[in-house]
């Protein structure tokens, strides 16, 4: 077993500090950068052991920047996979061997790699994926659209959703910290809306770059780590799972439940490191509520301001986590609501389904899955306001 001595510095020579110090206490200075550059700055401070990349718009720049960190000595291992399927398999191998691992992908890449996400969860590896959501084919789109997140909801991975570069920076550091808790130990997918966050340059507050998270300790993991005594595939090879009998069915089923239970156990940690699973914006007493995540919540915040000018109080409930879903927080925050709008960047309304599912029997509000834009379209706050005014019967003025 590993010695109990306390490490003072990581491989890059950065001073090791507690996650709480890094996230909440360290002094921060203002920088001006894109979401992709924020990924680099988070990984720089995360004592990352391994990263595998594959180019696909819009995440290529972030993947490239992690490669620069490897060249600068901040990341232990970095290489390019042969496809997204290869990448997600290779990071799994790194993580099973005890490495803190991060990768990035987008849209069609996510779908190509799909088989691996439930495998990640089932092998209980705390891999982190930064997902820069983009449209999925067909027709071809390289533009922001988060339909792919709907496919990931039940893979057994935690899913968090960042609104800004700042959110993303903090969530990457919090993501490792929460995912690696021994009683959690499932993958975390940090989602942003591609381009809207990855390519937007904005002000961001960063702690100094000479401090970093404590390295990952794989011997605290609930699964045996690959080492000299444990061969690769130790878990997957367990023979009884491959047989058709009652115990093999029960093993599979109970493990599937356990993965989901692990996500549930992440709640207190996520609440602490994300400062709550939701964020409220606007008039707390408002009967008109927007429930949204990511850029849709940003656009809803602008709509709240416009509605305020029209004399209509409104508020935004921004969901920071989708898995675990902030069930109690959402129910509490829509107590006085008459209308709940769920604006989304996809055509199917996967968030609306989630909101309906968890509010069923808990709210009398009318739930409206609008506006929905997709395929790369922008959601101007004016379009949201128009939906609201249509419903409330108020005359739609020219909004500009």
């Amino acid at each position: 077993m590993q010695a109990t001595e306390t490490l003072l510095y990581n491989r890059a020579g950065q001073k090791i500090v507690s996650p709480d110090y890094l996230l909440f206490e360290a002094p921060r200075a203002k920088h001006f950068m894109t979401g992709s550059e924020a990924v680099k700055e988070a990984v720089r401070r995360a004592s990352v052991d391994a990263s595998v990349s594959y180019p696909i718009t819009p995440q290529s720049e972030a993947a490239h920047l992690i490669g620069e960190l490897w060249a600068e000595g901040y990341v232990g291992v970095y290489f390019r996979g042969e496809s997204e399927f290869g990448v997600m398999s290779e990071v799994a191998g790194c993580a099973m061997a005890g490495a803190r691992t991060i990768t990035t992908t987008s849209g069609p890449g996510t779908l190509r790699a799909m088989e691996n996400f439930p495998m990640w969860a089932g092998t209980r590896i705390p891999v982190q994926l930064v997902l820069m959501a983009r449209g999925i084919n067909s027709p071809l789109s390289i533009q922001p659209d988060n339909l792919e997140v709907g496919f990931l909801l039940d893979t057994g991975c935690m899913i968090w959703y960042a609104e800004t570069a700042q959110d993303l920076f903090d969530m990457i550091l919090a993501g490792f910290t929460v995912a690696e808790q021994p009683d959690v130990h499932v993958p975390v997918i940090n989602v942003i809306d591609g381009f809207f966050v990855s390519h937007t340059r904005e002000a961001i507050m960063l702690p100094p770059d000479d401090i970093a998270l404590p390295p990952y300790n794989p011997y605290k993991a609930p699964m045996p780590v690959i080492d000299a005594e444990v061969p690769p595939g130790r878990f997957l090879r367990d023979p009884f799972v491959m047989k058709s009998n009652y115990i093999s069915y029960a093993t599979h089923a109970s493990w599937q439940w356990e993965v989901r239970a692990a996500i549930e156990r992440s709640r207190p940690y996520a609440k602490h490191y994300l400062r709550g699973l939701i964020e409220l914006f606007g008039n707390p007493e408002a009967e008109l509520v927007f429930v949204a995540c990511g850029t849709a919540s940003a656009q809803a915040k602008e709509a709240v301001r416009l509605l305020e000018d029209e004399g209509i109080p409104a508020k935004v409930v921004k969901l920071k986590t989708i898995r675990p879903f902030p069930i109690e927080e959402l129910r509490e925050s829509v107590k006085g609501a008459k209308y709940i709008f769920v604006p989304e960047f996809n055509v199917v309304g996967w968030l609306e389904r989630e909101v309906r599912r968890y509010l069923y029997g808990h709210s009398n509000a009318e739930i409206i899955g609008a506006p929905r834009v997709a395929g790369g379209m922008t959601m101007p706050a004016e379009a949201i306001v128009k939906e609201v005014l249509k419903l409330t019967g108020k005359e739609v003025k020219h909004v500009i």
Binding site: Q143, E202, A298, M379
Partner: protein
């Protein structure tokens, strides 16, 4: 009319540096004390094909993301945006707000009577400005067209000063930004062309400064008020 936000849309052609311009505009505005964000349009841009970028400057935190659908200012980087319809929106001025402003990089008047009538009805001012010619005259290269456009913008809207513009340009060229692999190789090509980075910065600064002064004079003649109050004045009235 009191604005709290200036939304800027920049239709351009790939390779003209509209994305860099947006980043410099936002960085300069941030330095001046405003809230600011910038972003490019998201397509498979290539040289001479339509490309577009956006900057938002405001007195309060800016949440708005994506394309600027309702701009206060439109900066047309290339005549082909108008003459060949190389624009994501048709006409290129769709969505322009009342009392807005259009800057066109052109040596001649490109607008039809119909365009002019529409823009006049919204009290939108049009500044025809030969930015590329300006860049060639001052910096010796058309690659500084974006610098001339930045200078013209701030000369016209009058809320971000020369010191902040200088800061924005320096932060773009002195810090290590990698916008994309393409931009990185463009940077090294630029460096070779100018031999030295500092020389490049100085030429860019001179281009922006001359354009600023020219545009400022025009704005004064036209009676254009500053688009935003100074951030310090806002803080004063809020008792901060």
């Amino acid at each position: 009319m009191k604005r709290k936000r200036v939304n800027i849309r920049m239709p351009a052609l790939g390779g003209q540096g509209a994305v860099t311009a947006a980043h410099i505009i936002a960085t300069a505005a941030d330095y001046e004390g405003y809230y600011a964000v910038s972003n490019p349009f998201f397509g498979a841009e290539k040289r001479m094909a339509p490309a577009e970028s956006y900057a938002r400057i405001g007195l309060e935190p800016i949440y708005d993301r994506g394309e600027v659908v309702y701009p206060d200012v439109i900066m047309v980087f290339h005549p082909q945006v108008i003459t060949m319809g190389k624009s994501y929106t048709m006409p290129f001025y769709s969505g322009i707000k009342k009392n807005g402003l259009i800057i066109i990089n052109t040596e001649e008047d490109l607008l039809t009577d119909e365009d002019k009538e529409h823009l006049e009805s919204l009290n939108v001012k049009v500044f025809n400005f030969p930015a590329t010619k300006f860049a060639i005259d001052i910096a010796g290269t058309e690659l500084s067209t974006n610098m001339a456009m930045i200078g013209a913008l701030f000369g016209l809207i009058g809320c971000v000063g020369l010191e902040a513009i200088e800061e924005g340009i320096k932060s773009r060229f002195l810090k290590k930004f990698v916008a994309s692999g393409g931009t990185a190789s463009l940077d090294s090509a630029l460096e070779r062309k100018f031999k030295k980075k500092l020389e490049l910065i100085e030429k860019n600064l001179n281009t922006a400064k001359s354009a600023y002064e020219l545009a400022e004079r025009w704005a004064n003649e036209q009676g254009i008020e500053p688009f935003l109050p100074r951030p310090q004045e806002v803080m004063k009235t809020q008792g901060v």
